[in-house]
Symmetry: C2
Subunit: 124 residues, 2 copies
DNA sequence: TGAGAGAGGAACCTCGAGGTGACCAAGCAG
DNA sequence: CTGCTTGGTCACCTCGAGGTTCCTCTCTCA
């Protein structure tokens, strides 16, 4: 971030950051980014690969991610249509941190399971 | 993850992971974890520090995070009550990845802003 | 006497996230 | 001529996320 920004510009940037964060810090977006990190996929493939997503949410989330320059959308003008989705460079960088979150989850499943049991006992 | 797990155990672990991921991959949880990474805070401090959160959502999210062993809750038996929140060790590790996401957002604001303009022009 | 302070809990209400299913376009196989 | 294909969009409906407001508990200070 440049230090030579006007206050108005700074404010806009912050608002933008908050909005972007809201777009990304969301279950489906994160799962899609993580799945797409494994390579280019088509719509239907993605729909099957992302556990539990509906085609509506997938389409909706993909458009948001495409708009934010995280996902590339390549349409082949064939019939029936064929659309390839992949991560942009920015998306790939983001994917490494998302992946770290997934790794953290897997590493701490056991710890969390125990923490929950302790917590639930305390409540009765 | 041990490789000597029974299928049922593996399945349970996966379900648990999905649940944990859903708990954490959520705007408020991530913002709280990130904010709390800067140090111990009290409820009201946190409520002010996390932009836009209501006290209900804060309380709700904090309980989930506490149950999952991500957040420590320390009650001082004084009057009026005083409660300190901080991250556990697991929470601190998670925080580094969450923080990476925030850094990514700030680094790519400009890029995303441009991507959006291009996208919006194309649609008309 | 009564107001205020800190950390919530409970009740109530609204609005939008998200699921489901129908529909479409365009060409090819049968 | 029909139906299947893929990648969506649209309309409809439901349910729960989340906001708002009021309550509480105990002590202190005015």
């Amino acid at each position: 971030m440049s230090d030579s920004m006007e206050p108005a510009e700074v404010k806009r940037t912050e608002a933008l950051s908050a909005e972007i964060f809201t777009n990304i810090a969301n279950k489906w977006a994160l799962l899609i980014i993580n799945t797409l990190g494994e390579g280019t996929m088509r719509f239907t493939e993605l729909c099957a690969a992302v556990e539990g997503v509906s085609h509506k949410m997938l389409a909706q989330t993909l458009r948001i991610l495409e708009r934010d320059g995280v996902v590339n959308r390549l349409v082949h003008p064939t019939v029936p249509p064929r659309v390839d989705y992949s991560l942009t460079d920015a998306g790939l960088m983001l994917r490494t941190t998302v992946n770290a979150m997934c790794v953290w989850t897997r590493q701490h499943v056991h710890h969390i399971d125990q923490a929950r049991q302790r917590f639930d006992e305390r409540q009765v």
